[in-house]
Symmetry: C2
Subunit: 331 residues, 2 copies
DNA sequence: TTGTACGCGTTATCAT
DNA sequence: ATGATAACGCGTACAA
């Protein structure tokens, strides 16, 4: 691969002239032409290492994610990539496999690589995270979690829970189970649950049982079976995620429980799977792709030293399908 | 961030000594100690650009993928990332959004970035691809497609189709529809179909209708409705992908067709969704994650100038669930 | 407008 | 074992 020096020699000018041609462009038309021709002929393109070495910067954004194989993550990445690519930035992905130590490592590692910014999709932010943020002084945006002092793009988990709760209680359900996940995950584990609980407080005579499972649909199937086998069967189950909701539905099929006649089900996420099962599951749709794009834009603004909102709440939308009905008369 | 020069000064030795300490290590114990202490204290770590500038190489592997939001891709990436990370390599993802021109661009772009290898997950390889392969002389592995002269990791699409065909025909189905996708995609569009066709040739009196749809489940629902509404209703549908199979199942639910009593369904891929719908769909499981790992290993071997198999066929496995039965008596 | 010369942080060569 | 020095390819301050 040719270097700028060779281009210079071939065009009969100095390196710096070529460099100027490439960057600011204050060169005479004649030389510009000559240089252009040579560049075309050789297919020259600047060595990015040398450039970065000089500039102490790259056009690379690091994205740290807890896992790769989830719909939410794919969509988020897509959104980030969209706007990054549009602005001439590369995206480099650091998958931590839910290992929180590797999250920290990744931060430092990306810093070493002199990425010009970092987008962190975290489930929880510890003190170690915060220390890392401070040490490396690289613009950063967090997505999916609110961190004081760091621009964050979040989904409205609390409102989503509240909305679903209302949706179910309004239709007359009084024996309801919330099937959530552990509180180690703030957004999903805590906020959504709290939203539902708050809604439950606004109605009379509600019996809200709270159970826990994992993100895995299979686990949800097992858990749902237990819940539905008991004698205090709920008339509705509010699932913390679409995957869990689908697991619940599967359990119903297995136990020959009719949905929505005998049991209503709702989920959160807007995963397309909710539209593929039968009946389609009512869910709260989050706009992961858009949120990813928003995060990326926010970060790019930061790089330009522009102001950014500290926390941006991504919208949500209730998608009504066919998994909810009024409770049957019984007892 | 400290440079090697500063480390040298602080330890009272020359730059070259520090460099030697960092790399080969032929230094006296005493100086080694001194240097170590300084490095610890400053938290020094080499500037990767300067290193790359010298070495004309990186420890980065470029991965080009057609889309980000598919289960197969996520798993494949996961597998690639696994072994890359284990060997101290970074992965940089180039998502082309199914745009074939961007695939070519990505190849050149990655070459410019001096990645030390490229893994290409392509749906089809054109002459432009081949030219790009030749021009940049960077080790490369293709996954999901067989390319003469380039090490390839492929799934056994033909055998998968053949296996599924046999599975269906053996159980007595004679009126069967294959719901595939256009032939622009070689593996999925052509090979799987051919496998099914070959199997159909080994039985008597088979009526095999071949229809086409897209990768989208929604499209599959529509197409399946059409097929099932006609008067020559098949007793089984072989879907080219799990997504399509799920779409067919949804159509059945909508039309009140019992699966598997009235219609048998099979898919290909091993997507976990096949286990979440009801009834679970019989499918051919491909090992995407393992295949990704294999591709990465293969590439790393190439970097070491070791021999590699030209084409590695990833195994598959038939997963029997509950979507297939013998055809009902009728006519 | 153009050219000269230096520095970015490393590694490698060659003396010492 | 260690140190001085050149070279990697680029950008830029400065001089011409």
């Amino acid at each position: 691969m040719a270097s700028i020096k060779e281009i210079a020699e071939m065009s009969g000018v100095a390196k710096s002239t070529v460099s100027r041609y490439l960057n600011q462009g204050s060169v005479s038309e004649k030389t510009a032409e000559r240089i252009e021709k040579v560049i075309k002929k050789t297919g020259y393109s600047p060595n990015q290492f040398a450039q970065s070495l000089k500039a102490k910067k790259t056009k690379i954004i690091g994205v740290i994610i807890p896992r790769l194989n989830s719909n939410a993550m794919s969509e988020t990445l897509l959104g980030i990539d969209d706007v990054l690519q549009m602005n001439g930035f590369q995206m480099i992905i650091s998958n931590t496999n839910q290992n929180i130590d590797r999250e920290i490592e990744s931060i430092y590692s990306l810093a070493k690589q002199k990425v010009s910014g970092i987008i962190l999709a975290a489930t929880v932010i510890t003190d170690k995270h915060k220390r890392a943020f401070d040490e490396i002084s690289i613009p950063m945006v967090v997505i999916g979690q609110q961190v004081p002092g760091v621009p964050s793009v979040i989904h409205d988990d609390y409102q989503a829970g509240y909305c679903l709760g209302n949706y179910i209680f309004q239709r007359g359900h009084r024996f309801v189970t919330y099937l959530g996940i552990p509180e180690t995950d703030i957004s999903v584990g805590i906020k959504r649950k709290q939203g539902v609980i708050r809604a439950s407080g606004e109605y009379e005579n509600i019996v809200l049982n709270i159970e826990e499972t994992s993100f895995s649909s299979q686990d949800a199937v097992i858990m749902a079976k237990k819940i539905l086998a008991g004698k205090n069967q709920p008339t509705a189950i509010i699932a913390a995620t679409d995957n869990i909701a689908v697991g619940v539905l599967k359990a119903c099929c297995l136990l020959d429980i009719k949905v929505p006649e005998q049991l209503s089900i709702v989920g959160v996420g807007g995963d397309k799977i909710t539209d593929l099962v039968y009946p389609g599951i009512t869910t709260i749709k989050f706009f992961f792709r858009e949120a990813g794009g928003t995060a990326a834009k926010s970060l790019l603004k930061l790089l330009e030293h522009e102001q950014t909102q500290e926390v941006i709440v991504s919208p949500y939308e209730l998608i009504e399908r066919f998994s909810v009905d009024k409770p049957q008369q019984k007892k």
